[in-house]
């Protein structure tokens, strides 16, 4: 990664003004959601082999899809990596309500012709990936420096059940 890029990511981390002494991945996700004023929904899925995680922008919520068929520490890393894309301000794919529900309802491996291209489109460019990964590593460094490493060994719980409840309530309403 180029030096300017590293400096940009470091500056970004400094600007976050986040208190890492109380770090939890769930708390970090809440903090980010408040900062963006958009709820973040974490969705565990069997992802296509080429994608470990994907951030999809819904109408009023952000959806982070992450590979569930990998050790928990890796799942947590993927979640943090996708949040790093948000922090870096990278663009991502935007989906309408129907596509969102299709993604949420699809509980098997995401490889159907309709869904995989959607998630593939959310895969960022090489530079964006490097930036997000770099920010992820800087965040992890901070977490380790504040002796909170064990917080990186657990995922943000998925609130997909309440997401469906929301969906059906809207349908009934």
């Amino acid at each position: 990664m180029r030096r300017e890029q590293t400096q940009r990511v470091k500056a970004l981390l400094d600007e976050l003004d986040y208190d890492f002494s109380n770090f939890t991945l769930e708390g970090f996700a809440d903090w980010l959601a408040q900062r963006r004023r958009r709820q973040i929904v974490f969705v565990p899925r069997s992802m296509p082999a080429s994608v470990s995680g994907a951030w999809v922008k819904g109408h009023d919520k952000d959806y982070i899809f992450y590979e569930m068929d990998t050790p928990i520490v890796h799942q947590a890393h993927i979640q943090l990596h996708e949040m790093a894309h948000m922090l870096c301000g990278h663009p991502t794919v935007e989906v309408g309500p129907q596509q969102t529900q299709a993604l949420l309802r699809h509980t098997g491996r995401i490889d159907s012709q309709a869904l995989e291209p959607l998630l593939q489109r959310s895969v960022h460019s090489g530079q964006a990936e490097e930036e997000a990964e770099s920010l992820t590593l800087f965040i992890q460094e901070q977490v380790f420096a504040h002796k909170k490493a064990e917080e990186l060994y657990k995922t943000v719980p998925s609130d997909i059940a309440s997401e469906f409840e929301d969906y059906f309530q809207k349908l009934e309403g």
Binding site: T70, P71, V73, Q140, F144, A149
Partner: protein, 331 residues
Amino acid sequence: MQTILDYGFVILGWTVTVVRLALRRKGAATNNAWLHAAFFALFVTFQHDAVYLGFDQLTGINNLSWLMSYIFMALCVYYASLAFSVGDRWLQRLGLITAIGLLVVIFPFGPGSTPETLDHVSPGNIGELLFMAVMYMYAGATIWAILTGRCTQALRDDEPTIRLRTTVIVATLVVLECLLAIKFIAYSAGYWSLPDSYVHLITDASRIMSGAAVILWFASFASNKVYVNLRRPIEFIRKALTLRKLISLRKHLESLSPSALMPQRAGLARLDLRIYQETIAILDGTRFLSEQLGHGKPVPVGAERLHTSLRGIPKSLSFDDLVAALCNIEI
């Protein structure tokens, strides 16, 4: 030298007792632990020549200090067994009462009937032999119960400092058990009729073992900070070896399936972070390899076998277990 050691043991014994009592008052230690320390301090105090002779002179009973020190030793061992929750409490109490009862009953025919002596290396008559045998059998059996019970279980504790402290306790108990066994066997084999050279050898060995047991006993009460510091070099070596295995696995994986994102190097001073980064890099690499295999792309020899091993690791493992599993993968 012996005098300095004797004073040293008494001072150590009472220091531990005072510290344990202070911790007990703060609620940071159990009653059993400080009572164990207190009776040990009383035991070494009554074994001290000056106290031994002074107390006997005061009471006018020959070798009464010997009886007192044995009773304190029995209580010390009893509270150690309570601290480790060994076996049935009722049995433990029965064992203690029986041992003390026998010591008191035998005393008039043993040490109480022989001239005042500070030398307890060899029994003066059959009464003294029985007197010593009762003590050794009770202490030996109780220490054996502690060793084979909770104490050994604690060696498998997740917390490394607890494991290290338990190792010291086990070492103390093993030395004590050996000491008791040597004396018991020597007496049973007719110790007083052995040649002088053997007597000296056994006496010297007993002294060295007693000293080692007291020092280890004292070390087992050292603060947690001492154990954390003791663990540091061991932990550093262990982590460095783990990291070396992870790096070679990651490099091997990269040679089979080059991944786009390389981990940052955090330096040896932050081994935990390096281990974490290498673990993530390996898991990322596994995904890359899955993608290659999934698309039927040609892969180097050994890639499929490695992929199978990596995918075979259970997903729900804790981080430490995951790292251990990765280290066990044969490249």
